[in-house]
Amino acid sequence: MSKPLISVESLRMGHGDTVLLDGVSFEVTRGDIFIILGGSGCGKSTLLRHLIGLEVPMAGKIRVAGLAPRLEGKAPRYGVMFQSGALFSSMSVGENVAFALQEWTHLPLDAVQAIVRAKLALVGLEGAEDKLPAELSGGMRKRAAIARAMAFEPSLIFLDEPSAGLDPVSAVELDELILALNRNLGLTVVMVTHELESIFKVGKSCVMLDRQTRSIIARGEPQRLRHDTDDPRVRGFFNRETRGS
């Protein structure tokens, strides 16, 4: 079996004195679409921030392609799309996508622009390079953020709630884009979401976090978990049931 792309061992994380997750271990294999699930406040986004390297764990070990996730001062090893897109508002969409390329490569401007056009076409935003982020709709902003994350040809991309706040059509389109990138480019995707449709449509494997036990309460294929689980918390999540029902 090939080495996992991401490995997390006995992770403890939280904010200040509050521990959100303790003793969490899991692995993400290459080519996977790995989903981090759980109710509100269980630490999904915080876990993602730890995997990206934006936060430092209280204890435990995280390895991404064999290295600890460190960000600053080096060309990006993986792409990240934030929940709001987080496009630089003072730059056009094209400049956003070109930003890292210009810094970390010595490509001439024409070549950078050609790559930017191709990346924007990949996410269905042909001709939007001169628009400002404020002129785009929510779905377009997220697509542009994916294009920016993809600019440096990463083999791994992190997505924080890609379909949150999108209309159903845009959400489906975004799911299809994620699937296409995974199938055609072999891109490994790690995403946080609680949109059930997205989870079943794109998710190949998942972990479900729980706030009370501060640990992983289920792991595996989302479709299988939906039917096979005996845990009422997991069943409730996948079948939209409240505890009482």
Binding site: P76, V80, A86, R148
Partner: protein, 401 residues
């Protein structure tokens, strides 16, 4: 309808509205049926909507204020209620909670159609929820303690920031190409060129007012010509750099904090880090360098225009010719006065950029957080400027400058 009739109708509508708001007009029925000594039955009837909430609350308060000694159940009979809205149902729910807290069972009975649906929606929960314990207000000692701890935490954050900034500055000096020149020039344009008109205007007025205020005193001693000394020295050594710094604090300091704060809360700073850029060299150092570079230009402009303001007053009210003024000025101010003012201005601008950017990057909590940090940045900068000014004055005095 005549105007008089229309006025009368409007007045009647106003009276009715006022009575409803005051709870004096009751359009629904509230009938108390005494059963045995242990049970109270209230029969409600009619349509009870938000307009009737005041009257309903009055009846509820009357009932809740009663002794109700020995009463075990209160039944609210909704059979004759045609319609009740959520707000009024919430008031009845509150009555039930209050009664349950006094160990009196309160039940809703009857109600059909719409009224029953509202009862189910709002009245379904039988158990009174425990009220969250009200937070105890902090005593004066606790408030002082908590404020001291938060100030210490803030000082620690600033010291951390200065440490990181020093390390980043060393890195930028080693690799000058890594400096974000685009932001340096942008800062110089926005904080320098764009600020020039207001810096000129304010400093002109400062020189003008200072000369004008002192002219009456100087006249008494026939020391008119010393207005040049007074204006020249105070503008170049003190007021030129200080007023310029205060203007830059208001214009650019606030803008830096708001801009970086907004970038922080909208995850743009995190996005920057994921693309391999370090926020300090990329965002903070260019702003600092830009401000420090424009400081000498702005301070010299401020000096020149402030002195011009003084010269104008001298010529108009003290009958001193511009030539005499300038000759006197030449003997009054030394190069060290101007240089120390420029150095002060550069130190002030460095401090403004440092505090503004630190506050911006420490922002959390959305739009409100940005507002709070911007206010706090401006206040901290103004305080730091005055302290720094005092330190400069004492230090330069010690060196005989």
């Amino acid at each position: 309808m005549t105007d008089a009739e229309a006025l009368e109708r409007a007045s009647a509508r106003f009276d009715e509205r006022l009575s409803l708001v005051m709870g004096m007009l009751q359009r629904f029925s509230w009938r108390r049926v005494e059963g045995d000594a242990y049970a109270v039955r209230i029969e409600l009837g009619g349509s009870i909507a938000i307009d009737d909430a005041a009257a309903l609350w009055k009846r509820i308060s009357e009932l809740a204020a009663e002794d109700l000694e020995g009463v075990r159940t209160v039944t609210l009979d909704m059979t004759d209620v045609d319609r009740i809205d959520g707000a009024c149902m919430a008031l009845l729910g509150q009555l039930r909670s209050d009664l349950q807290a006094r160990h009196i069972t309160c039940e809703f009975a009857g109600g059909s159609g719409e009224a029953q649906r509202i009862v189910d929606l709002y009245g379904g929960r039988k158990k009174a929820r425990h009220r969250r314990a009200r937070r105890k207000p902090l005593s004066a000692v606790e408030q002082v303690g908590s404020a001291t701890l938060s100030v210490l935490a803030e000082v620690r954050q600033i010291l951390d920031f200065i440490g990181q900034l020093a390390a980043s500055t060393v890195a930028v000096i080693k690799h000058p190409k890594s400096l974000n020149l685009r932001d340096v020039t942008l800062t110089m344009e926005r904080a320098g060129a764009d600020a020039a008109p207001i810096v000129l205007l304010i400093n002109f007025l400062i020189g003008f007012v200072m000369a004008y205020q002192s002219s009456a005193q100087l006249k008494q001693f026939g020391a008119n010509v010393y207005v040049a000394d007074l204006v020249g020295v105070s503008i170049t050594r003190e007021l030129g750099p200080l007023m310029t710094a205060i203007i830059i604090c208001g214009r650019s300091g606030a803008a830096f904090t708001a801009e970086l704060g907004t970038m922080k809360v909208s995850e743009e700073v995190d996005a920057l880090r994921t693309l391999g850029f370090m926020p300090l060299p990329f965002l903070v150092i260019p702003r600092m360098v830009g401000l420090i570079l424009v400081a000498p230009v702005l301070v010299l402009l401020a000096d020149a225009i402030g002195i011009l303001g003084g010269l104008l007053v001298a010529a108009l009210t003290l009958e001193i010719t511009p030539t005499t003024f300038l000759i006197q000025l030449q003997s009054a101010i030394k190069a060290s006065d101007v240089i120390s003012g420029v150095l002060k201005g550069m130190a002030f601008c460095g401090t403004i950029a440092l505090i503004a950017c630190q506050q911006g990057l420490a922002t959390s909590g959305g739009a409100e957080g940005v507002g709070k940090r911007t206010t706090s940045a401006v206040v901290s900068i103004l305080f730091a400027l005055i302290v720094l000014d005092a330190v400069f004055t004492v230090a330069l005095g010690a060196f005989g400058l």
